[in-house]
Subunit: 439 residues, 2 copies
């Protein structure tokens, strides 16, 4: 672990010599269903908006290079800047052994940990210890939900309310989400709605949750007709990412999370994408420094986007590259059959295929996307069960439909550039669907 921490420091120091481009441009062409996003500093294309000049997500390295091995490693902190709802993301090895990171963000004397049957045996005791060690005034209850996307529904959510109400929790309490994206989304929505809003903390234990779903305040549950259709924008007090929790993550879950890591590179961070192309073997081998770097850089990208567009009026939608196709797959095959990242990977291939059909990207980018997803052991096509009609039926209730028009995130230009638009040739969408479906 000490070696990993050293590698991590080194990679961060190297990184600091080539900082991530922080400015993005955000233009409104004549067609207001069309937004263009770019991670490069490209003056000829840049449209001035107040948002451009704002630095919205900030990272701080707390690690002192002189730290000896016997001292705990200080975490990297990525700040999500949202005014009075700002919060830190702590990223590091062994953070669950350091109670003060959690305890400083607990409000009131009562804590409800929401977790699932897979994660509870692994980490619940550790989290309860971190919440209560040296802190006898705090009492902790827990609710253990079944594991899987198919349980991200209202019936399961009610179990969280039941537990909180039966335990006589009041407004001065804290909900803690311990698990992957499903747990984080459900616990967050429960916290948003319980007594019209109580504090909550995210402790994501999967790559998927650590790089994406735990950050940014999107919470909610699925409806039988579509994913995440019921929910709230509700920000946590903090996100605590103990990278050691990834040691128990199944390979398939690891790969699923990498789909979102790859997404950040494609939509806004070309340099990160290139780093991933080189470091995919290290990520799959769970090299701690590679994983920690990928998580940190993903969180920085996510935090910056969320800070600029919390309620998804435009820019934030770009984080959904591949998700409209992916949600259709998840809904079509039945929640829980494909992991979210697996569906996103196949959906990304479809979005890239469509972008190419529209003439918006080079063939070389199509190949690179296919290659990196294959290297990450992710699917590059939807399951055979999916038909054109199944895609269209689910895509019609996507949250990005506006006044009946489906807007999609598509790549346009060199790697790292994308658009969120409803202004595309319908034939390209039809052709893509037909190319990937047998009927």
């Amino acid at each position: 672990m000490a070696s990993a921490a050293t590698n991590f420091s080194l990679s961060l120091r190297n990184k600091q010599q080539t900082p991530i481009p922080k400015s993005s441009f955000f233009s409104f062409p004549n067609n207001n269903n069309h937004f263009r996003f770019n991670s490069n500093n490209c003056p000829s294309l840049s449209v001035s908006t107040a948002r451009n000049s704002r630095m919205c997500a900030t990272s701080s390295r707390l690690t002192d290079p002189s730290t000896t091995k016997s001292q705990p490693t200080l975490p990297t902190t990525v700040q999500v800047d949202l005014g009075n709802r700002s919060y830190p993301i702590y990223i590091g090895s062994g953070l669950l052994n350091e109670p003060h990171y959690l305890q400083r963000h607990v409000h009131g004397k009562r804590v409800l940990v929401v977790t699932n049957k897979t994660v509870a045996p692994l980490y619940l005791d550790k989290v309860v210890d971190a919440l209560t060690r040296g802190n006898p005034n705090v009492s902790v209850e827990s609710v253990i939900l079944p594991d899987g996307e198919q349980y991200k529904d209202m019936d399961t959510l009610m179990k969280v309310f039941d537990k909180a109400i039966e335990s006589r929790f009041d407004r001065r309490c804290t909900f803690v989400a311990l698990g992957g994206g499903v747990i984080g989304d459900m616990c967050g929505f429960a916290a948003a709605a319980f007594l019209r809003g109580v504090n909550f903390i995210q402790i994501p234990t999967t790559v998927m949750a650590q790089v994406d779903s735990s950050v940014g305040g999107k919470t909610g549950i699925n409806h039988r007709l579509g994913k995440n259709l019921i929910g709230a924008f509700y920000q946590p007090q903090c996100v605590l990412i103990d990278t050691d929790t990834l040691n128990t993550l199944p390979d398939r879950e690891l790969a699923s999370g990498l789909a979102e890591v790859i997404k950040y590179g494609l939509i806004r961070d070309a340099e990160f994408f290139e780093w991933q192309e080189k470091n995919m073997p290290a990520l799959l081998a769970r090299d701690p420094s590679a994983l920690a770097y990928a998580i940190k850089r993903s969180c920085e990208n996510k935090a910056e986007v969320v800070s600029l567009d919390e309620k998804e009026s435009g820019l934030r939608a770009t984080l959904n590259l591949g998700h409209t196709f992916g949600h259709a797959i998840e809904t079509g095959v039945g929640y829980g059959q494909w992991l979210h990242g697996e569906a996103v990977a196949a959906g990304t291939v479809m979005a890239v295929d469509m972008s190419y059909r529209l003439g918006w990207i080079d063939e070389s980018l199509v190949k690179r996307v296919g290659d990196i997803l294959k290297h990450a052991k992710l699917p590059t096509a939807p399951p055979e069960i999916m038909t054109v009609d199944m895609f269209k039926s689910v895509m019609a209730v996507d949250k990005k439909v506006a006044d009946g028009l489906l807007r999609l995130i598509l790549l346009k230009g060199p790697i790292g550039n994308c658009v969120f638009t409803g202004d595309y040739d319908r034939k390209a969408l039809d052709d893509t669907l037909r190319a990937f479906c047998k009927s």
Copy 2:
């Protein structure tokens, strides 16, 4: 109606000569569980805060005294000032015949009217006409829920989501609540959670909803263990109060709403309470000008409190005078058995009794409260089924419990003054419960 409008204008003009006291003081004594509120301008007690000097709710009379009878009467508008979430409350006779009040607040092309089996036959066609007349681009769907507090639950709420999703509504839609408090609370929560938030409009059709529940953004549903335990703070685009809808309101519902009107007088508006004492016969006889004045003045009080304390960190809790006891009655006897205002009336008598036991108010006030509630044909004691244990059990999960301590709204001082406090002699609460329960 013309005569009523004239009376209304007169009473408003009279009113303007003796304006409602706009300042309230808000002090934090040593015990921070104790807030004191007062409607009088009392320099010796006033504690300076930034909030004191802010005028937060503003009313405008749009009625031109020279208006001829053939022209429609312009509504009174009470503004709820909440920054970029501010909105108007339109109050007037015949407003549902004037499409522009509604149409200016509709976002997108799709509208979902949420109503119930009682209200739909009376007003749904009228509302659909108001939404669509001269506005062919807008299409309206409706969902008709069963009527009653016992249906304010998650299963019924899901019918709203089902309808919106099956109808392929997207984020650019508007939900319209047409009905009483239950419909408003459920439709508001559905709007808050559908696709993480869509626009909504309140069209309250009961006195209860017009004077209280439609204003201020509290939305939610009940849990079998307690009222309004799951919900959101979510503000509408506007509240449209057509006082003509009260013509079809049953007497019992009318009286129920008056319990909240009386509350405003007791907690912060002594002059309004005195007006009610004199005008209760006119209110019960549905004198349009008396009802319109009571609704306007109630909305002004509510809007001012909500503007000062949207999320109920202190002041807003005072609107719950009698509600902690009242919620226990509603939960204890079973949702829908007692109307909300009936339970609040009995709860108010209990809160007043407790205030008197604590030595905080004069006996004369106890009598005046009992008298006005009796004149309003409201209950002044809980039903015989209620036991001390039933009260305690429900009150333990009240949202105003903080770290295990139940805070109550109690009267203290001359009429129009109250406190929100957990700092009271427990014996007074026990004595009150025993005095009103057989066991």
